[in-house]
């Protein structure tokens, strides 16, 4: 330590955890983050295409809501993402990192496709009910394994569920060998394109009404389940502390398994909604990363269903828009991953400014 004293002005960032923040302030911060992200994206897009960014953004809007069909696609994709997010909600509330939605969707989708292929001639209503039940069961099987081992051996659930995603993908490629149509194409093609067996029917003039109904029903039921039921309370306590749960007389193992089955079951149904309600085919990309995107959706919305709807809608909007501009400017479809990636990073980062207060403190002191 030297002895000469001089005045040094310190500029330190001072962080304090906020007790609470007004909801509108939080949303203003998120809005600013989105705007910043859009500006950065504009730079990236201009850098790649040399186009006027305003044209690019009008292209995005056009791609997402530019025609009736595009609006419906955006809605369809939004509700599916919301459904998966709602499925993840109970598991995440319990601090169970279900990173396996991808696999659970695939298994649910496979069950739906199997029924469409082998039982396509059943009466439509019966078939669709069967599809929903079977896909939920398939998801449940995929969720049971990690839940059981987590409950009884404390096996790391995030890696377990992650690995099951790839096992599920291999099962799909295995099934494609038997289901491929036309033979040799290595893909399943549109199932039952003639009689539309197992397709969600047109209701009120739209192909996707049933998708929306299913998602709304599941979302409302799950919101009530989490907030007002004894099961929901148990999940909240287990998520906070296993010790407290034991103290309260909650059977932790049972709650872990039960909650994960619900979570995986909903993800399985999401698989059916995708296969029977939208694509009418199955492939390894049926889930298409939505299982992961939904994790981000659920986390950013703080497990609030309304928030999840907003975040899903926004992300799908950007994705659909990015797909449009990619084809418009001759980029490949992965451009949308980069654009949504940038937006997601900004949204994740801005949560910090919602949770913490940052002040630049200037202080003068004698430094020795």
């Amino acid at each position: 330590m030297s002895t000469n004293t001089k005045k040094i002005s310190h500029k330190t960032l001072h962080l304090t955890k906020r007790d609470s923040i007004a909801t509108w302030k939080a949303w203003v911060i998120r809005l600013i983050a989105v705007l910043l992200a859009l500006i950065i994206c504009a730079f990236v897009i201009v850098g790649i295409t040399g186009e006027n960014p305003l044209n690019v953004y009008s292209g995005i809007i056009d791609g997402a809501v530019g025609s009736k069909r595009r609006i419906w696609v955006t809605v369809r994709e939004t509700v599916v993402l919301l459904l998966i997010g709602v499925g993840l909600m109970p598991a995440f509330k319990m601090r169970f990192w279900n990173l396996g939605a991808e696999g659970q969707i695939l298994m649910g989708g496979a069950a739906a496709a199997a029924l469409m292929i082998y039982a396509g001639n059943l009466p439509p209503v019966l078939l669709i009910i069967l599809i929903l039940i079977a896909s939920a069961c398939a998801g449940i099987i995929w969720g049971f394994l990690p839940a059981f081992f987590k409950a009884h051996f404390n096996t790391n659930e995030s890696l377990f569920t992650l690995m099951l995603n790839y096992v599920a993908m291999q099962i799909i490629t295995f099934l494609i060998v038997f289901w491929e149509n036309p033979s040799g194409s290595n893909s399943v093609g549109i199932i039952n394109s003639a009689n539309k067996g197992g397709w969600f029917p047109k209701i009120f003039g739209s192909d996707y009404t049933l998708n929306i109904i299913i998602v709304v029903v599941v979302t409302v039921v799950m919101t009530v389940y989490m907030k007002y039921t004894k099961h929901g309370y148990e999940i909240a306590v287990v998520g906070e502390s296993h010790n407290t749960a034991n103290y309260a007389g909650i059977n932790v193992k049972k709650v872990v398994v039960r909650t994960m089955l619900i979570s995986a079951g909903i993800c399985g149904i999401a698989g059916a909604v995708i296969v029977s309600g939208a694509s009418h085919t199955i492939s390894t990309s049926t889930a298409g990363g939505r299982g992961f995107t939904a994790i981000i959706v659920a986390w950013m919305a703080n497990l609030n269903p309304l928030g999840m709807l907003l975040v899903s809608a926004f992300l799908v909007f950007m994705q659909q828009g990015a797909i449009q501009i990619a084809s418009q400017y001759g980029l490949n479809e992965n451009a949308s991953d980069i654009i949504t990636g940038i937006i997601i990073f900004f949204l994740i980062g801005c949560e910090f400014f919602i949770k913490y207060k940052v002040r630049v403190k200037k202080s003068e002191e004698d430094a020795a």
Partner: protein, 510 residues
Amino acid sequence: MENYAIELKGVTKRFGSVVANNQVDLALKKGEILSILGENGSGKTTLMNMLSGIYYPDEGQILINGKEVSINCPKDAFDLGIGMIHQHFKLVDILTAAQNIILGLDGGMKLDMKKINQEIDALVSKYGFDLTPAEKIYNMSVSQKQIVEIVKVLYRGADILIFDEPTAVLTPQETERLFTVLKKMKLLGKSIIIITHKLNEVLEISDRVAVLRKGKCEGVVETKDATVESLTELMVGEKVELNIQRSDPKKPEKRIEMRGVTVRNSEGLSILKDISFVAKSGEILGIAGISGNGQKELLEAIAGIQKVDSGEILYYPPNSTTVEKLSEKTVREIQNLKISLSFVPEDRLGMGLVGSMDLADNMMIRSYRSGDSRFFTDRKTPRKLAKKIVDKLEVATPDINTPVRKLSGGNVQKILVGREIALNPDVLMVAYPVRGLDITSSYTIYNLLNEQKEKGVAVMCVGEDLDVLLQLCDRILVLCEGKISCIVNAKLTSKEEIGMYMTGARKAGV
């Protein structure tokens, strides 16, 4: 000026709107032992954290050996010869003692463990410690870990040692040994600060005492001029009645009986060995022992949380001749039998309450299954209960929708104890009920326990402050390494005797 190791002048530290330290002036002479006395929340630890570089003061000056310094990080503190021994040991469990001791130090890229072990051995023999450098921390007892902490700061060349609540986890015998070490270090020229709230120890070990209250320094006195009463008055700011009213048990009846209970942990080691005792209605049974000798498991076994490997736990309901066997039942089965067992666990926010939930939701933890609907929760009753407890126990909270994590330690404990007593228990078990509480809150809790005792409840209380246990309890059960080393009448024993039983230095028939 010359003979001061540390001088603090007008030091202030704020956390948001809370002023943790307010214009504190304090000085430590070279080669003395200074006690800093104050209740929990009086700002002792914050003050010391500014000396060890964990926090940076908002205002004021710090002088070390007469020179003004700026301590920006823990490393600056080492360089100035300041070493802090924290209350919660700052040790990495999976590393060895030696690795912990050299943690964060400069010196060649390569680790020469052989040379380091030799250096530590030299230091250890100089001060007469008992320490194996290559031993892993997770294999050590609490007092061994404390030695590692002391050697750690000495190895770094500390001349000023700050101890934060060093005796909180020690037995009376271990405390004695620590004090011997402190005196030896003082003789070898070290300056020492001890942060504590135990008055007897202050009087025993220190040369001078500084008293903090609500972040302010209330005065510094020579120990030889101080008494327990005068220090308490300085510390609390008013005269406090330090006596606990103890009435004789009325019509004690058997409530809980353990017969040869053995409990093993997941690795198959016995945590409780062949425990047999009786807890009676209308009396307070104290449970003493060094932390981690089976107290937690004992209470949890009765509550149905801890699985019992052999033996039985019996419950004798009041006004009835039936006997219930608790040892085979889960928490839920016990609740279904309408047996009213209340339990205030040691880990308040990790077991008894959920920190992120509000007061009302926390009221439901043990009773969420009740209510008319099978599926939906009843939230009205817990809200009423929360309001009642807040009013009756004067809990300082903005409202009942506040997460309990945001309340102070004393208020958290009031909510927990209040909830458990509201169950109208026949048996009340409490673990470390006043840990971290200020004196006034502590006496509120003692009074609540006595009230329950007089109502005919069988109270079991695990405690660490032997002075309090001796005043509060009727009988004291001492645990050592999972066995009962004695059960004594609290009126006929002494602190020293219990200390001997705690370490297993004495064993007696039950």
